[in-house]
């Protein structure tokens, strides 16, 4: 079996991360934004696992577990907030949620 070089993993995770950033920055649906954040986190996870494998150090994988639990919590709270906002404003369009401006 052919060994996949580290750079591939890193490139993939870079691409994933960028997609996530773009999603956060340019999408206007809150749920999509949340999903993009998840994507960013997973891109980081991928990097961590790849380095862990490459360096033979398990602490990277431990960190992944942490990130996943944080991501789960974040998704839960984030979605709860989205639902709360939706109840109040009947929209999840971020362009309409700009209370800071007022």
């Amino acid at each position: 079996m052919m060994e996949i070089p580290l750079s591939w993993y890193l490139s993939l995770s870079g691409v994933l991360f960028s997609i996530g950033v773009m999603g956060v920055l340019f999408r206007s649906n809150l749920i999509v934004i949340l999903m993009s954040v998840e994507l960013m986190l997973n891109a980081v996870n991928l990097t961590l696992v790849a380095f862990s494998q490459y360096l033979g150090d398990v602490s990277g994988q431990i960190l992944v577990i942490f990130v996943m639990s944080v991501a789960a919590a974040e998704a839960a709270i984030g979605l709860a907030l989205v639902i709360a906002i939706f109840r109040n404003k009947l929209t999840v369009d971020i362009n309409n949620i700009n209370l800071f401006k007022h």
């Binding site: 950033v21 956060v24 920055l25 340019f26 971020i94 362009n95 700009n98 209370l99 800071f100 401006k101």
Partner: protein, 665 residues
């Protein structure tokens, strides 16, 4: 009996009465109708202290002065003020006047106010007044006296504005309170100086400490106390509140604005008499102010057609006489006149109240018969001929008029004559200003006899001048009102014998009140006297007494014949005789107008047109201007804030990229 307990009862009972009559009906509305009970409680809590004071009085002067100290009111460091009451000859006499005349007026009020819906409140206020007045006269230090002093002012305010539905009454009440506060301001300053220089406000300590004060400080203190007294005792320049104060119910005018409260200025000067004597310059001022006030008020009284206004100005005038006495060092005579004046002036006011009561009835009847013109139940122009309908009122009013005029052997004769004699004597001794006061006093005495007889004639003699006099007429007032009148008129007749003129010594009689207050061999009184070097010869003294009597009799007879013949037309004749001067009197020498223009309106309009806008525009404007500058900066930076979260996120990302680029290169 133990003095402490006695004093607590004397001072405390009226307070208990005020609380019972005031608080129970206030919180429990049905109690407001228990008029008999309220009247009885209200009167008893004044009469019992009177009896107790009589008992104290009957104990003689052996143990006096005696002090009943209750507790420390306030104390800081070495300075301490107690709630302590002082029983001595002066405070006893004043207590007797306050509770004695006060008790009679309470009885009178049960009749006079019987139909008033706020009967309970009236008695609560009256009792509170007696409590405050007793604090004033019994206090052992200046500060407790001041508590009474302001307290009676408060009651005066409450009672002048008793019928507060009329804007005018409430304004008169406020005016009285505020003018009095001007006097109180001076009183406070006097106390500050005393505390600074003596370190105590107890009378004994203050009078003993006077020796250690500089002459300027003593002069200043006496001057300030005198200004305080001019406020409370309605002297020039602060007398303007008293005539307006007649807006209150008539028993109030009799009690507060004739017999008791307005004399507290005199009491203060008598109490501080050793100190006053050390400020001869201020004594000149006191005598002259007193004499001029007496004259000015008497001339104004001449022009008034409201019966209570005549009496009000007459009170100012009589108070002027008392100050004149104080100004020539005859403090005991001032107190003597306070006493006799309490008798006849209370009687006159209560008599006028009885008349007003009767005229109210007339008005009521007239309205009943469909009369809808203007009617003023206090206007003497609508009275006349009341002697037929109100015989008791008429006789008591007449006797009191004779007393105030100074007809020989009445109470007013002895006290007024003593004032004039003392002024003459002081002048004879070399203080020439006293002669000036004496001359003015003599002229005022004539005027007094004249205008008081005028008020009697216009009210009781002649024929009725109200509309439809043949169909409606007033009735005599009930027994509860006439009884006090009879007692007071009796006292106004005989009360003067306690202060016989000096010449009576030749016949073996002594001047009791002089001995009691100012002291004699073997007894030191609380009131000081100046030392005289020259003595008026007996012949001259008799001549002065005769002159005084003639002036009084002349004034009465003159007015009697004048108004007996012309009735109302008499006023026009007087007006014709004096012309411009009369108009000047009519407007009260323009004092009200003057104060209005120089003090009241400038203060109010500066507050409204200068200070309030200044506060809004300048002081607050500066604050807001600073805020606006900040806001301008804020507005500039706010341009950067779009409020869209994604923009902020973009900024973060760009920032991260920038940092990474910087790290890499």
């Amino acid at each position: 009996m133990n003095l402490q307990l006695l004093v607590v009862l004397i001072v405390g009972l009226p307070l208990v009465g005020a609380l019972v009559n005031g608080l129970i009906p206030l919180f429990y509305a049905p109690a407001r109708q228990w008029k008999t009970l309220i009247g009885a409680v209200g009167s008893l809590v004044v009469m019992v202290p009177f009896a107790l004071a009589l008992y104290l009085f009957s104990q003689g002067t052996g143990g006096l002065p005696d002090v009943a100290a209750l507790y420390t009111w306030m104390a800081v460091g070495d300075f301490s003020v107690s709630v302590a009451y002082r029983v001595d000859e002066l405070s006893l006499i004043m207590t007797l006047i306050v509770t004695g005349v006060g008790g009679l007026i309470h009885v009178y009020a049960t009749g006079y106010m019987a139909d008033d819906r706020s009967f309970w409140k009236f008695f609560a206020y009256l009792n509170l007044f007696i409590f405050m007045m007793l604090n004033l006269v019994l206090a052992n230090n200046l500060l407790l006296l001041f508590l009474g002093w302001e307290g009676v002012g408060l009651c005066s305010w409450l009672l002048i504005g008793f019928w507060y539905d009329k804007r005018k009454n409430s304004a008169a009440a406020s005016k009285a309170f505020i003018v009095n506060r001007v006097g109180d301001f001076a009183f406070l300053l006097a106390m500050f100086i005393v505390v600074r220089d003596v370190g105590s406000l107890d009378f004994d300590a203050v009078l003993a400490g006077t020796a250690g004060m500089s002459a300027e400080a003593v002069t200043m203190v006496v001057l300030l106390l005198f200004i305080g007294a001019t406020g409370k005792s309605a002297q020039i320049p602060l007398f303007i509140w008293l005539p307006d104060a007649m807006a209150g119910p008539t028993p109030v005018s009799a009690l507060i604005h004739a017999a008791t409260m307005v004399t507290s200025g005199l009491y203060l000067l008598a109490r501080m008499s050793p100190m006053v004597l050390m400020a001869p310059d201020i004594m000149v001022l006191i005598a002259i102010i007193g004499a001029v006030t007496a004259l000015v008020a008497a001339t104004i009284a001449l022009t008034r057609s409201d019966i209570k206004q005549v009496l009000a100005y007459s009170t100012v005038s009589q108070l002027g006489f008392m100050f004149m006495a104080a100004g020539v060092g005859a403090f005991f005579v001032a107190i003597f006149h306070v006493l006799t004046h309490a008798f006849f002036k209370a009687c006159l006011f209560l008599g006028s109240g009885s008349v007003i009561h009767g005229m109210h009835h007339v008005e009521h009847e007239l309205r009943h018969r469909g009369y809808d013109g203007a009617f003023d139940s206090q206007d003497m122009r609508l009275m006349g001929g009341l002697r037929e309908f109100m015989p008791v009122t008429r006789w008591t009013y007449l006797l009191s008029t004779l007393a105030i005029a100074g007809i020989p052997l009445t109470a007013g004769f002895f006290s007024k004559d003593e004032i004039l004699f003392k002024a003459f004597e002081y002048g004879y001794d070399g203080q020439l200003y006293a002669w000036l006061a004496w001359a003015i006093g003599l002229g005022t005495a004539l005027l007094t006899a004249f205008y008081m007889t005028r008020s009697y004639m216009l009210t009781f003699e002649g024929s009725g001048r109200w509309p439809m006099p043949d169909q409606v007429h007033p009735h005599e007032s009930p027994r509860s009102m006439t009884l006090p009148l009879i007692v007071l008129a009796g006292l106004a007749m005989v009360g003067g014998f306690i202060g016989l003129p000096k010449v009576a010594e030749k016949l073996g009689f002594s001047n009791w009140i002089h001995g009691y207050l100012a002291g004699h061999a073997g007894h030191a009184g609380p009131v000081a006297e100046p030392e005289l070097h020259a003595h008026v010869p007996v012949g001259l003294e008799i001549a002065l007494i005769l002159a005084g009597s003639l002036i009084a009799i002349g004034g009465v007879v003159w007015a009697w014949r004048f108004y007996g013949r012309y009735e109302l037309g008499g006023d026009e004749l007087v007006q014709g005789r004096f012309g411009r001067l009369y108009r000047w009197w009519k407007v009260g020498y323009g004092f009200n107008e003057l104060y209005d223009r120089t003090v009241v309106r400038p203060v109010i309009s500066s507050a409204e047109k200068l200070f309030a806008p200044f506060d809004q525009r300048i002081v607050d404007g500066l604050v807001n201007a600073v805020a606006r500058v900040m806001q301008a900066f804020g507005w500039l930076f706010a341009r950067l804030q779009t409020g869209v979260v994604q923009n902020y996120a973009l900024a973060i990302v760009l920032g991260v990229v920038l940092v990474m680029l910087l790290l890499v290169f």
